[in-house]
Structure formats: structure tokens, C-alpha cells
């Protein structure tokens, strides 16, 4: 081999090795730069878009830096759809951010595998926070009696109805459905179809959100449970089957809505006058405010009671990675993010329900009927999840409920298959 070739060879291999090693080297989750500043990485599925970025990086973090000038916060934005991927790759690559935001139902799985710091290390637990938060809401951050996360915002699924359409159908606009029988009766009255049977107005919109999140309130209203105290599947009960039968019958027998009946835009069916009632996310208020503000006057909310009153709540919680090198600073950031000011800004941007009870009197909550209603009814709120396997099985809920909705399985068969899957997941 000539000398020139040898050099070329060496040069090429060196460049490649440097590149490869550079690409493979894992950046530690928290770093300290030459100026001695500590860098914390924050992963967030909220604060989306340029508005969210302006709020987080233009208002919330600068306020934090006023108190902690030596801490540099690096923000990684994602969405809930991509959060799983981010966390998975972070865990595998050893690059878990220091402070993370996760959804309700996520904490148990990560806490079980020692990926999160218990907040008891910072003298924080459910008791110390119960003056600020509804205790039911704090439970979403608890695993085996230890608090791992503090909620920033909640998102509830509520009943919504149009007073005008109630009046037109001869129903009392001050009397929303209080139980399943009334819901069914009203929905049938409110459904409008043309002479060819094409749906014009859905009596109740049940299909615009995840099937799981719409079925769960029916389960709880009927006195059912997702899991028992030992973490065993408890949803395949008489109450669960009745709830799923009621849900599927509304669509398949009573025909109060049709699969695929949608606006085709971001606007909601009820906000567009295409549904008289809906089981909807609380941000429907913000949605209608943006799409059709005149319709806000016409909208009211309700929670139903069969055996008990119940509504669904999800939300976003802030937590700390077990691998952080700066736990004190990470906790300070978590406290700041869940504080009154930051929490209000985050909720306002997303149209969500603040987890802090002291924000009930804020202008934002008082002016947002959906959020206000959800906050006033938090005592009836139930979270999904509760077992470490939840993330593994939750998508199966949607699949199996869909099977029942499309009459591929009976409600009993769907829930039995789901129970089998949940038991398998627990055994793994």
C-alpha cells in the first residue's frame, strides 16, 4: 500500500470513528457548563405551538431564573402522541430529562420501575399539599402511598348540552339529563335525520373522543371500578357490562349518533349545531369560543348519576427523574411549574382545568364555564389508570370497546377479552 493510500485510509477511518463516537456518546441528563451554570432539561407535552413556547420560555422560566439565576432550563417540546417515544428513548439512552411532565395513569408504571423520585425526599406528600389540591386529584401522582408527581392541569370529560335545542325539542333547558334513562330519552328526542335517514343533528355526540374515556364515566356512574385494591381487573363486572351495553345501545339501537358523523374541521359538533348534547372535553368551551363565540350563551354542562355521580379526569403532572444530578434544583423547578402563576398560564393556554383549588376564583376560571363546572365538581372526578400496567393495556380498552361498538363482540365478550389481556400484562 502506498504511503498516500495509508494516510488516506487512516484519515477516513479517524473521521468516521470520531463521527460515530460523537453520535453515540450519551449526553448526561443534567450538565454543568463552563460558567458553572447547572442545566436542567425539561420535557413537556404541553405548552405546544409558538404561543406555548412564548409562555414557557418568555414568562415562566424567566421568573424561575430570577430566583435561580445559576440554573439554565433547556426545554424539550413534544406532544402526548410522541411522549412515549421520547421517554422510551430517554430511558434506553440514559438521557431522561430532569423534570418531566406526564399524564394521569402514567406515574404508576414509571414509579414502579424506579424511574421517578419520590417527593417525600423533599418533604412533600399528599397531606402537605391537601390544602391546595383536591385529594382525589393528588392520587394521580401516588404510587404505593408515595407521592411522585404534582398535577398542573386536569382535563375532564363532561356532559354538555344546547339549551336552544332542548327548547326546540320541548325539553326543559334548565333540566339536563340526570341519569341514563333521561340521557337516552332526551337523546332520542333531540336526534334529527332527513327523509333518507341521514343524520342532521346527533342527539348526543359520543364518538368525538376516545371510546375509553367516554365509557369510563358510565362505568363509574354505575358503581363499577377499573381495578380493585390489589390491582386486579374489576371492570368486567355486571356494572361494567351494563355500562358498555348502555353505551353501545345508544349508538346501535337508539341511533342517537352515527360513526363518522363529524365536522371535518377543528370545530366540535355541538359548537357547530350538529349535536344537541355531547360527552366532551372541558376545552370545548375554548373551542366554541374560537369557532363560534355566539354559541357560548347556549351551552351548559352536566354530570350524570346512575348509582353515583361521576366524571372522568385526565391531566398533566410534573415529576422528577430518578437520574437527575440536581435534585434540589429540579424540585425547585417542579414547584415553580406547579405554582399558582405558572399553573394558571399553562391552563389558560390549553383551556384546561387548574389542579390548584386556589385558582377557582381566578378570572380565567370564572369566565370559562366548562372549567369552572369541572372544578366545582372535582369531588365526582375519577382518574383512569391505577396500576403500573396501565400504559400497556389502555390502548386495548379503546380497541375492545370499538369491537363492541361495531358489534364484532358483545359487551361481555369485549370486557372478558380485555380482562384476560390485563391479567396477562400483570403477570409479565
Amino acid at each position: 500500500m502506498s504511503r498516500r493510500f495509508k494516510w488516506m485510509n487512516l484519515l477516513l477511518i479517524s473521521i468516521l470513528l470520531v463521527g460515530v463516537l460523537g453520535a453515540c456518546s450519551s449526553e448526561s441528563s443534567s450538565t454543568s457548563n463552563a460558567e458553572g451554570k447547572k442545566t436542567l432539561r425539561l420535557l413537556t407535552p404541553i405548552f405546544e405551538g409558538s404561543d406555548g413556547k412564548d409562555i414557557l420560555e418568555g414568562e415562566i422560566i424567566p421568573k424561575f431564573n430570577e430566583e435561580y439565576p445559576d440554573v439554565n432550563v433547556e426545554v424539550e417540546y413534544t406532544t402526548y402522541a410522541k411522549l412515549n417515544e421520547k421517554l422510551t428513548t430517554g430511558m434506553v439512552g440514559g438521557t431522561m430529562p430532569d423534570v418531566l411532565m406526564m399524564g394521569v395513569g402514567w406515574i404508576e408504571g414509571f414509579a414502579k420501575e424506579n424511574q421517578l423520585k419520590s417527593l417525600s425526599e423533599f418533604d412533600t406528600d399528599v397531606d402537605s399539599l391537601s390544602a391546595t389540591y383536591n385529594e382525589k386529584v393528588l392520587q394521580a401522582g401516588v404510587y404505593k402511598d408515595e407521592l411522585y408527581a404534582i398535577p398542573i392541569m386536569l382535563d375532564a370529560r363532561l356532559g354538555v348540552y344546547s339549551k336552544k335545542m332542548f327548547e326546540e325539542a320541548g325539553l326543559d333547558p334548565k333540566h339536563p339529563p340526570e341519569n341514563w334513562d333521561e340521557l337516552r330519552e332526551y337523546a332520542k328526542k333531540l336526534t334529527k335525520r332527513d327523509s333518507n335517514g341521514n343524520l342532521e343533528v346527533a342527539g348526543v355526540d359520543l364518538l368525538s373522543y376516545d371510546h375509553r374515556q367516554i365509557w369510563l364515566p358510565f362505568l363509574w356512574q354505575n358503581g363499577g371500578k377499573l381495578f380493585d385494591e390489589e390491582g386486579n381487573a374489576a371492570f368486567n363486572s355486571t356494572e361494567g357490562v351494563e355500562a358498555l351495553t348502555f353505551y353501545t345501545n345508544l349508538v346501535n339501537k337508539d341511533k342517537v349518533t352515527d360513526v363518522g358523523f363529524e365536522t371535518g374541521t377543528d370545530a366540535s359538533l355541538i359548537g357547530s349545531g350538529m349535536a344537541a348534547m355531547a360527552m366532551a372535553h372541558n376545552n370545548i368551551w375554548t373551542n366554541i369560543e374560537q369557532q363560534n363565540p355566539e354559541a357560548l350563551e347556549d351551552i351548559e354542562f352536566f354530570v350524570m348519576e346512575e348509582e353515583q355521580k361521576a366524571m372522568f379526569y385526565g391531566g398533566t403532572l410534573a415529576t422528577i427523574s430518578e437520574s437527575t444530578e440536581y435534585p434540589e434544583e429540579a424540585f425547585a423547578l417542579l414547584t415553580h411549574l406547579t405554582g399558582e402563576e405558572a399553573s394558571l398560564l399553562a391552563n389558560e393556554q390549553r383551556g384546561n382545568v387548574p389542579a390548584r383549588m386556589d385558582l377557582l376564583d381566578s378570572e380565567y376560571v370564572q369566565n370559562n364555564k366548562g372549567v369552572k363546572f369541572a372544578m366545582e365538581n372535582l369531588e365526582y372526578a375519577y382518574p383512569e389508570g391505577g396500576v403500573p400496567e396501565w400504559l400497556e393495556i389502555r390502548s386495548k380498552f379503546t380497541e375492545e370497546i370499538e369491537q363492541a361498538l361495531y358489534k364484532e363482540k358483545t359487551p361481555k365478550e369485549a370486557l372478558s377479552d380485555l380482562e384476560g389481556y390485563a391479567e396477562q400484562a400483570k403477570g409479565r
Binding site: 500500500m1 502506498s2 493510500f5 488516506m8 485510509n9 477516513l12 477511518i13 468516521l16 460515530v20 412515549n84 417515544e85 422510551t88 430511558m91 434506553v92 408504571g109 414509571f110 414502579k112 420501575e113 424511574q115 333518507n196 341521514n198 352515527d258 360513526v259 363518522g260 358523523f261 363529524e262 365536522t263 371535518g264 350538529m274 400504559l391 400497556e392 393495556i393 390502548s395 380497541e399 370499538e402 369491537q403 361495531y406 364484532e408 400484562a425 409479565r428
Partner: protein, 313 residues
């Protein structure tokens, strides 16, 4: 026959000269070979790091119960046994095969016809070529969003078209009887551009004399197309077939955006099911087993296609 001394000596000289030339050529060849190795090296390193090693890791993971949170434990063939009994995964294999069966040949046929037309002397020919190629270079997610609007039940373009003829609109993505068709339709449309460009290049390589000769023999345009164009495109056709096959087995984005595998798993394809298990359920070991099976299927199909291609050429 007597051979003079001078002739022998000339022959010897010539042989020596020949072997010296051969030696020189061999050295040159060696140098070229080394240069070739150096030039191939980056691609080889890339292939080993980002293809071979991940495949081997996937094979290893497929025999473990790896779930991200905890270290992998060997479970040998348990994932493969589970896969065999997994109804949803079996549906996903079937759906992938159905998707491939419709998208590959149909889009190949359409792209051949389009390439043939665009190979003629047409006005604005370059513009048409660019227009047909555009879907291939546009982000699939953006395309899927636009098609979702077109498929919209209430206000979509397709239903508006059907309703203008008095035909009741179809729930394209929400009806399990139509959802796969809807996804296939997008797959066909999106796949035309790339195939058309390859066909176009291949068409331009067919000697014009063949057409002229056939014309003299009295062949009409259809006969020319079937007897000259199609056979002369065999190599291109098989190349397109192989890449389309691999592409369609890896279909993911439009399923993820448009249907999420639904309704009732009617559009769940293998890649989507792998994604669900890996990133939704955190079952990396199981997802690796599924991914490895996908790799084996694509690998076998590619080998068969290559063998068939060699025998045809």
C-alpha cells in the same frame, strides 16, 4: 516446420513483454481495488452500524421480555409463540398483504401507462412529469391530512362527488368495509410518482430502431407497446416491483395519521402493530419479534424477486 532462431528470440521477447505488462496491470488493479475498498468503507460502516447491528440486536431482543423499564431476560421463543396466537398481529399480517396486493401492481400499471404517455412529445411534458412526481417528495403526513379532508364523511370531496350523482356518501375511514380501500387508494396515488420516473428513464433507454423496424413490419402502436416496450422494461419492472414490495410492507405514516389502525383493526398493518407494542405498550421484546418476522418476510420476498429477475433477464 523449422523455426529460425530469430523467430524464437522474438517470441520470447514478446512473451516477456506480455508478462511484464500483465504484472503492471495487476499492480494497477490492486491499487484500484484498495481505492475501491476505501471508497466503500463509509457505506460499509454505515451499513454495519445502522443495519446489521440493529438487526442482530432485534434478533436478540426478540428472544427476551425486554420492556424498557427493566433489563432484558431471556424468554427464548415465547414471543414467537405468543405472536402465532396473537389475533391482532395475524390480522395485521393479512392487512399488510392485502395492502401490498392492491397497491403494488395497480400503481405499477398506472405508472407505466403514465410514463409511456409522458415519454411522447407532449406540450408541458416537464410540468406533467413534475406534477406526477410531486406526491413522492411530499411528506406523507401532510398528504394524509389532505386526504383525510377529502374522505370526510360530511364535507369531503369524495362524498360531495358521489352525492352530486345522487349516491349516498360513504364513511370512508370509519366503515371497516371501506377503510382499507381508502388507505390503499392513497397508497396507489402516492406510489405512482417514483415508479413513473424509473419507468420513464427505462423507456428512454429503449433503442428507437426497434420501433422503426416494427413499424416497417406493420406493427400497430398496441403491438409495439406489448411486444417491444413491455419486454424491454423487464429489468426496470422487477426493480420497481422489489422496492414497491419493501415500501408497502413498511407502510406506516398514513395508517398512523388517518385511521390509527381502525376501525376494529381493519387497517392495522404490521409496522403499526410493532409501533403500538414498542412505544405504546413498552413491550420491546415482543415488538422486536414482530419486527424480525417482518424483516424475514421482506428478505424472503426480495430473494424470490431477485432469483426470478435473474432468470427472466
Amino acid at each position: 516446420m523449422e523455426v529460425s532462431e530469430s523467430t524464437v528470440s522474438r517470441k520470447n521477447k514478446s512473451t516477456k513483454q506480455h508478462s511484464v505488462n500483465a504484472l503492471k496491470f495487476s499492480k494497477l488493479e490492486k491499487k484500484q481495488r484498495k481505492a475501491g475498498v476505501i471508497l466503500v468503507l463509509p457505506a460499509m460502516i454505515h451499513f454495519i452500524m445502522f443495519t446489521t447491528i440493529p438487526i442482530l440486536i432485534a434478533l436478540w431482543l426478540s428472544m427476551t421480555d425486554y420492556r424498557v423499564f427493566s433489563p432484558a431476560q431471556w424468554n427464548w421463543f415465547a414471543n414467537y409463540v405468543e405472536m402465532w396466537n396473537d389475533k391482532v398481529f395475524m390480522i395485521s399480517i393479512w392487512n399488510t398483504a392485502v395492502y401490498t396486493f392492491w397497491t403494488v401492481p395497480v400503481s405499477m400499471a398506472i405508472s407505466l401507462v403514465i410514463a409511456f404517455i409522458l415519454n411522447q412529445k407532449l406540450r408541458m411534458r416537464a410540468w406533467y412529469r413534475a406534477a406526477f412526481f410531486l406526491p413522492h417528495v411530499t411528506a406523507t403526513v401532510a398528504i394524509a391530512m389532505v386526504w383525510m379532508w377529502m374522505y370526510n364523511n360530511e364535507f369531503g370531496l369524495f362524498n360531495a362527488f358521489l352525492e352530486s350523482f345522487g349516491i349516498k356518501g360513504i364513511n370512508w375511514l370509519g366503515d371497516p368495509n371501506w377503510s382499507m380501500f381508502s388507505v390503499v387508494l392513497l397508497g396507489i396515488w402516492k406510489g405512482i410518482g417514483q415508479k413513473m420516473i424509473i419507468y420513464l428513464a427505462a423507456l428512454q433507454g429503449i433503442p428507437n430502431q426497434l420501433y422503426e423496424a416494427s413499424k416497417i413490419d406493420g406493427a400497430n402502436a398496441f403491438q409495439q407497446f406489448m411486444r417491444i416496450t413491455v419486454p424491454m422494461l423487464t429489468a426496470a419492472t422487477f426493480f420497481i416491483f422489489v422496492i414497491s414490495l419493501i415500501d408497502s410492507f413498511q407502510v406506516f405514516e398514513q395508517i398512523y395519521v388517518m385511521t390509527g389502525g381502525g376501525p376494529i383493526n381493519s387497517t392495522t398493518v404490521m409496522t403499526y402493530e410493532i409501533y403500538q407494542n414498542a412505544f405504546e405498550s413498552y413491550r420491546m421484546g415482543y415488538a422486536s419479534a414482530q419486527a424480525f418476522l417482518l424483516f424475514v418476510i421482506v428478505f424472503i420476498l426480495t430473494i424470490i424477486s431477485r432469483k426470478y429477475m435473474k432468470s427472466e433477464l
